[in-house]
């Protein structure tokens, strides 16, 4: 019996050990900003710049670079980055074009992981080259912010090469929705007007009344017309100017932090296969 318990415990321990590396990775809850800095290495200005650039690129293409600086991860950075990327859903869910720039300050590790949609654009060799040139020298010299800013800028340029320069005019999604809404209401109003004019021009029961056998002796009956509809197309059926998204709504202000949820028209949930590079 004792032998059985020992064997059973050994098998159980082995199974737990096999399962642990997969499920033990504990990443923080997804944040609503383009940066996550519990290590406190980024200044306010840098946070703003990261947010502003990401905001425009996100609107333009769904791509953005999530910058994460933590002190410890207590494990393998590859698995940590992979779990974080996929749990946070970095990048657009359709294009899977997010980038995660992860720096683990106290453990002196870093990793850049790209979404599966960017694998054909940015090679692993290019990521290694970027990290060796723009990240590593500064990181090893404890210039964490410079390392992050330089690498972010180069990665951002890579996104610009892929998707073009993001600007307000080139954004088609918001204006597209606006035009579609206006067009929809115009068509709706036209249909309603046509229906009303048809209803008004044709009496509904004139034939029936004329052939009616019984006639009221005291007065002449008027042919029955459909009641005039109470609905009239008014301006209240058009989208009000205030409800339409305007460019000024999307202009980030320094006073308010730019969150990813602001861009509600795009779907989140980008995924990565763990493609990237870094120091483990």
């Amino acid at each position: 019996m004792r032998k059985f318990i020992v064997t059973f415990s050994a098998i159980l321990a082995l199974l737990v050990a096999m399962v642990l590396p997969i499920y033990a990775i504990d990443v923080p809850e997804s944040v609503d900003t383009y940066y996550y800095d519990p290590a406190n290495v980024l200044s306010e200005d840098v946070e703003y710049d990261i947010s502003e650039k990401n905001y425009e690129m996100d609107r333009h293409s769904g791509a953005y670079i999530e910058v994460v600086a933590v002190d410890y991860i207590h494990g393998d950075i590859l698995n940590y980055a992979y779990t974080m990327f996929n749990e946070w859903g970095i990048g657009s869910s359709e294009k899977n074009n997010g980038i995660l720039l992860l720096a683990v300050i106290q453990e002196e590790k870093y990793y850049v992981m790209v979404g599966r949609g960017l694998e054909s654009y940015i090679s692993a060799a290019r990521i290694d080259e970027i990290l060796e040139t723009y990240f590593e020298p500064y990181f090893d010299n404890e210039q964490f912010e410079t390392a992050i800013v330089n690498t972010f800028d180069v990665l951002y340029e890579e996104l610009v090469d892929i998707y073009g320069v993001p600007n307000v005019q080139s954004n088609t999604t918001d204006t597209g929705v606006d035009f579609a809404m206006i067009l929809f209401f115009i068509v709706l109003i036209l249909i309603v007007v046509i229906l009303i004019s048809i209803m008004l021009s044709k009496p509904r029961y004139p034939q029936t009344r004329r052939t009616h056998r019984y006639r009221m002796p005291t007065y002449r009956t008027r042919p029955y017309y459909a009641p005039r509809p109470t609905y009239r197309p008014t301006t209240s059926y058009r989208p009000s100017v205030s409800s339409r998204p305007s460019r000024s709504t999307f202009t980030p202000s320094r006073s308010s932090s730019i969150s990813r949820s602001t861009i509600s028209s795009r779907s989140r949930g980008g995924s990565s296969r763990g493609f990237g590079g870094g120091r483990r």
Binding site: R116, S123, A124, R273, F275, G277
Partner: protein, 176 residues
């Protein structure tokens, strides 16, 4: 027609029909799962071609490039070359896993020898690139959910009924 009036026979026929249709449904479900798992291996989770097979092909391609570079510097490449050739002919998933492992060992040895050799700047850069891509492909393979899907399939086919259904269903194997 007299057989139709035989109650026992009809009950037996009904039981056979119910059992066979359940069997058919169960096997179909397992086959669908197996197909999805094969698809995962060959064309990836999102069916975009980014899969373990894609990464293995990438590694073979990088290995070939590293072998060519090593030859240029007079380094012995017979074992690495043989590893590449055996890998290309590997058919089953398990074979591919074994070949991938031995290829990794052979290429690592070649890379070490190349790093000791006095490479030109261009060749050193090229080697670094190839090694980056080669290792990154291994990273993505290690994170691929393929084996998790196989584990789910195995869980589905555990138990008496599952084992019976498994006999008739398509086979799946771990990448290990």
């Amino acid at each position: 027609m007299n057989h139709l009036e035989n109650k026992t026979l009809m009950i037996l026929v009904m039981i056979v029909l119910i059992v066979s249709s359940s069997l058919f449904a169960g096997v179909s479900k397992l086959n669908r799962m197996a197909d999805d798992i094969h698809q995962e291996f060959l064309v990836g989770e999102k069916k975009d071609g980014l899969s373990i097979q894609h990464d293995l092909d990438t590694r073979i391609e990088c290995a070939r490039n590293i072998v060519t570079l090593a030859k240029k510097y007079g380094i012995e490449t017979t074992r690495a070359n043989a590893a590449v050739q055996v890998f290309e002919q590997a058919d089953s998933i398990h074979e591919k896993f074994i070949c991938n492992q031995s290829l990794g060992v052979e290429i690592q040895s070649l890379v070490q020898q190349l790093q000791d050799a006095s490479l030109t700047t261009t060749n050193a850069k090229n080697l670094k690139e190839q090694v980056s891509i080669f290792e990154n492909a291994q990273n993505t393979i290690s994170l691929d959910p393929y084996n998790t899907l196989v584990a789910e399939y195995e869980k589905e086919t555990s138990g008496l009924i599952g084992n019976v259904l498994k006999i008739f269903a398509k086979d799946v194997e771990y990448f290990r």
